[in-house]
Every structure is written in C-alpha cells, then in structure tokens.
Amino acid sequence: MKREHLSLKILLAGEGGQGIQVMAQILQGAAYQTGLQTVYIPNYGVEQRGGVSLAYLQISTLPIPYPKFKTADILVLMCERAIPRVKPYQDSQTQVINGIFFLNTSAQHNLSPKTHNMLILGILSTLLPINPEVIRQTMKKRFQKASALLLNQNEQAFLLGRGLGLRLPQDAQRLKKIPVDDHRKWSDQISVSKKHPKIIHTIIRRYCKSCGICISRCPTKALHFSKTLTGIYGTPIVEVDIKKCIGCKMCETVCPDTAISVKKEEPLADSPQKS
C-alpha cells in the first residue's frame, strides 16, 4: 500500500441474502468518509435471493473512469456456487479471502450466523487503507433501523474478523483450499420424542430457507433458529425442541418449502384422517 497512487479493485461474491451488497455499501461509505474516490456496482439476477450475488467495488485516490474491471486485487468469496463466476477475475497477484473457511466462526463465538458478512468485512478491512473506526461508524449508520442486539453482534463480529485478519497467514487464504460441503449430501435433522405417542419430527436441512413462518405459527413455541447449522442460503435453519412438540403438524402445513414433516405413531382415534 506504499504506492503513490492507491487503486484497489475489490470483488465480493456470495449467495444472495448473505449480505454481499451491504458489505460493499458499508465499505463504499467508509471510503468516501476517508476522502477516497470510490465506485460500487452491484450484480445479481432476478431471483433477489438464492442466486449468486456480486459486488464490484473500487477504491482509489484518483477519479475512477469505469465501474467494472477485468482482474481484482482482492477477491472475497462467500460461497462455493460463486467460484466459477469469479475465477476469470483472479490472477497471480489477487489476494483471496476465503469466507467459506469461516462459515462456522460466528456461531463458535456465540454470534448469529447472520453476522458472517461483518466477520468477513473485518478480515477485509485489514487489507484496506481505511480507519476501522470509520467503518464501524458507517456500519452503525447502515444498521440504524435494525435491533440493538443485531447491531451489537455485528460490531462484535467485525472486531473478531479484524483480529483474525491481522493474525492470518496469507497462504491460508488461497482459493485452492476450499473445503467442499456438498448440500446434496446434507443429512436431515430427525428428532424423536421419548414420550407416548411417539413423534418423529424431520427437518430437511437443504430445503430450509429460514423464513421463520413455522416459528411464528408453532402453538407451543417448540421451534427456534439453529445456532450452528445453516441452510441452502447460508442462513440458520430451524431446529425443534422435541420435548415441547405436541405433533400438531402446524409447521408441516405452513412450511412453504416442504422442509418439515411430522409423524405421530399413534394418532388419536377421533382426529380427522388426511390422505
């Protein structure tokens, strides 16, 4: 970073819903506050969520002529599906931050999996000539409508990421070392109750998009978001507290993604049978 003219081209890539665009917006705001020139252009499909989402961000001391670029100086990767999309932007000089490597780090530190993007932002910020305090202030402004808890968790994740980024050897961040976690091989989450009649509650992990409808409709509040497992969109899946479950099948009925099935071994004699 000792060049006279600084010019950084950053490509952020991940699953829609992971907060790629939020990261880019925060960095852009912080760079502008620092007095740098900055351009950001989002790129995502009509799906809005569930597609690959890219953000092209440039930070420079000189005016930026064109918002897109061919090779990135820093590549931030948050999901496997994005790899074929970002490969063309990588050359031997590109520094890669492999966010897939840190997917469970937030949860290990008792933070919501939603804060994953702020963790990666923390790591990324160690490579940028921007004061982290400015980034934190921008983050606060961006999340002013969010709950205080989430803001607090985001700030913690950011600081955690910053600590990680300062300690990490650069080799560990290379694109080659991506742990493969094939979602087609994810196992279903099956819970079986001990009391009689037996209730078998199955959540298909790769179908759950964490919309939260089952949680809000459950009559006994037996469902909650997982602190460790994430679903197809990188968001926390639903888990059941089988002790509270009464086997009413409300979650199964309202789930839009057919991710839940409930079986009761001995249904009551007078309950209506559904074919």
């Binding site: 799906e47 809005q48 569930g50 939260g212 969109y233 199964e252 839009p256 057919t258 991710a259």
Partner: protein, 242 residues
C-alpha cells in the same frame, strides 16, 4: 411432507424465503395427488413470480406471454377437451395487462380453473404498485403510500368478474393463512372444471416478505390487513343439481 407430483430434483424451489407461492403450489400439488389427475393436468404459467414454478411439478407446463395465460389455456381446452387446464396468474397479469382475457374467458364460460395470486404488488420487478395495492401501502412507486384519490380503490377481481359469469361459475377468494381451506377450494374449482360445468376463478391472498420487507410475524399482520379489505369465502357457487 412433499406432494407426489413434485419433481424432487428441482427442490429446493426457486421462490424467496417465506414466499406465499410455496404454500399455494404445495396445496395445489396435494389437490392434484388427491384427485389423481397428474397425467392429464396442464399447468399454464404467467410472466412474473409464477413462472418460477416451471420445473416444480411432474405435470405438463406451458409458460406464456404476460397476461395471456388464460386464452392459451382456453385454446388448449378446445384442442384437448380431456385435459385439465390450470392457469396460474399473478395479480398484475390477471387484473392489469390480462384483464380483458380474464373477462372474456369468464364471459364465454370457458371450462378453466384460473388461480390468481394476489400479493398486492408486482413482486418480480421489485415491488411496484399494482391495481391490488392497498390504500396507504408503501411500494417502490408509491413511497408515500397509495393515494386512492388519484389511483382509484384497490381492484376487486372476483367481484368484477361475477356479473359476466353464468350460473355454472365457481368464484372464491381464499388466503394462504389456512392451507387446508386452500386445498379444499382448489379441489372444488378443479372439480367444477372436471364436471365440464364451466369457469372457475380462485383468488388467493398471498404474501411477499421480500418486497414488503417484513419478517414472518409482520408478514401475517399485513396479510390480515389484506383480508380485512378483500372479503374471503366462496363468493359464487354453481347452482346445485344442474
């Protein structure tokens, strides 16, 4: 539980988290299973979020131009009278660009089942105001809320169609809040077609958490507001014994 007529390879489906289409298509799938009509069903999809269901079912599927699903399905029914034609249309496709198709189809009493999904805005294009947007509702094109003085009252589709229909038509409005009622209504609407009686229209009040920017609880609070304006129930039933 997964309907038998779903194509399992295409799951998880393409809709947003919490999308109302998930519940609607699941109920439709169970209805198709229950009536055992998967081999003769043809599903017509409109432009809009509806088309994301293009690979969800193991049934024949057509995707048409915006608002033209109903006439395409009417044509299909003329060519193949034994087919069961289902038209899945959004509120923009049915009540804005394709309103003439809907009205003429109802007027001709085509033996079709039209399912209109009303989520009060144009969802796929980013949440613009639709004819069905509620008074005061904030969308991307009505940032201060819909002003009914300028844009008219929210459009009542089934009530508009009913005067054009004859005694064989089945017209109902349901909400995704209760998937079991949804399934029963779809069953009645499809049976009306199978008996060869005539036109059936089901408007489903749906939710769009992505464009409403709501979580699960607030989504259903807003759905309650929609249910307060749009009257639920079987608005017109075919006459018995004819």
């Amino acid at each position: 539980m997964i309907p038998k007529c779903y194509k399992k390879e295409s799951l998880p489906h393409l809709f947003c988290p919490g999308c109302g289409y998930g519940v609607i298509l699941k109920s439709l799938g169970f209805t198709i299973d229950q009536l055992k009509i998967a081999h003769q069903t043809v599903l017509g999809l409109d432009i809009g979020c509806a088309l994301l269901a293009w690979n969800l079912f193991n049934v024949d599927t057509i995707q048409t131009h915006h608002g033209r699903t109903i006439p395409v399905m009417a044509g299909l029914k003329l060519a193949k009278p034994k087919a069961i034609a289902l038209a899945l249309v959004g509120d923009g496709g049915a009540y804005a660009i394709g309103l003439q198709s809907l009205l003429h189809s109802a007027h001709r009493n085509d033996p079709l089942t039209v399912i209109v999904v009303n989520n009060s805005l144009y969802a796929m294009t980013g949440g613009q105001m639709a004819p069905t947007t509620l008074e005061g509702e904030i969308t991307t094109t009505t940032p201060l809320g819909r002003d009914c003085q300028k844009t008219g009252l929210p459009f009542l589709g089934p009530e508009t169609v009913i005067p054009l229909t004859n005694q064989f038509a089945y017209v109902a409005r349901v909400s995704i809040r209760n998937p079991i009622v949804l399934e029963e209504t779809f069953k009645k609407a499809i049976l009306n077609q199978m008996k060869g009686k005539g036109f059936s229209l089901v408007e489903v009040l749906s939710v769009c958490p992505t464009n409403w920017k709501t979580d699960a609880e607030k989504t259903f609070q807003f759905l309650q507001e929609m249910e307060n304006y749009y009257r639920l129930g079987e608005i017109k039933k075919p006459k018995e014994g004819e």
